[in-house]
Amino acid sequence: MFIVIGIMFGGIAIGYLLRKATFLKHIGKPINYTIILLLFLLGIQVGSDQNIIRNLPLLGGQALLLAVAGTLGSVLAAWLVYRFVFKKKEEKA
């Protein structure tokens, strides 16, 4: 895990030092290509696994449950912060 985070912070340092270089403004494009390549490789890994392909509807159901739960939890927490911090400030202002 430390390799992945270390590489990212190394990248932040490089990006900061080279922030004047104009070619880095276009880093968004190569990132998209890398993401597409990685998802393609992940797809190959998933597709070559017969168990996962058979279980895909089941995995989708589990994913939906996690997605709804995560979204609901963050929306409720957002409501608390809005109700007790942000709205009070707006009322004062």
Binding site: I7, I14, G43
Partner: protein, 208 residues
């Protein structure tokens, strides 16, 4: 939205190719994925480091604004942990690792597949990675579809927290429209901080 469709398309293409390769009993070296992942992390880091908005944003941070990304993280992780009571197949930390994607589906799914391989084995790690991919794509879609309702019932911060890491790119336009112009800065700051937290929290929960 178009970007996510392309990603899903390539993932599906990969699935078909992998299925075909499996028929001929050809396997692909897993190390390749790892090195491409390192390349991605380097690029993500560089893009954060050279972003000119970064300096302005760090100077303008007020403590109350940090409550918004904190709400996203605490709310998501606690409810993801609860799901592990229903999904007995996965541990509480597995569920929290999936939740830590905060809609950043590409990075979270790849990290989980790679980092979980050691403890869960190749097949279960790929299953959890696939769940992470679908969960976090669904989260982005839920935010895009339900932002108006979220604002109506849970206040103007709700779609920002629901959008997770995407509030800096794909969900920013719709959030601006329904939460209001004055929260654009909050949404961008939130997006940057949650973006940063994804690799850190996903790796952390994968290591537990």
């Amino acid at each position: 939205m178009k970007g996510s469709l392309i990603v899903v398309l390539f993932f599906a293409l990969g699935c078909v190719l992998g299925w075909g390769l499996n028929l001929f009993e050809i396997t692909i070296d897993g190390d390749l994925t790892r090195y491409v992942l390192y390349l991605l992390m380097l690029q993500v880091g560089i893009s954060i480091g050279c972003d000119k908005k970064l300096g302005d944003i760090i100077r303008n941070i007020r403590p109350t604004l940090l409550l918004v990304p904190l709400a996203t993280i605490v709310g998501t992780l606690s409810f993801s942990a609860l799901v592990s009571l229903v999904l007995v197949k996965w541990s509480v930390f597995d569920c929290m690792a999936v939740g830590s994607g905060f809609a950043y589906y590409s990075l979270s799914s790849i990290l989980i597949t790679e980092l979980k391989e050691a403890s869960l084995g190749v097949q279960l790690a790929a299953e959890l990675g696939t769940i992470a991919l679908m969960t976090n794509i669904m989260r982005e879609i839920i935010t895009l579809l339900f932002t108006p309702l979220m604002v109506k019932y849970f206040g103007r911060l709700a779609p920002i927290c629901a959008g997770g890491a995407t509030t800096i790119d794909t969900t920013l336009p719709i959030i601006t429209k329904y939460s209001g112009q004055d929260l654009v800065f909050v949404a961008i700051l939130h997006g940057i901080l949650v973006d940063l937290s994804v690799p850190i929290l996903v790796s952390f929960f994968c290591s537990l």
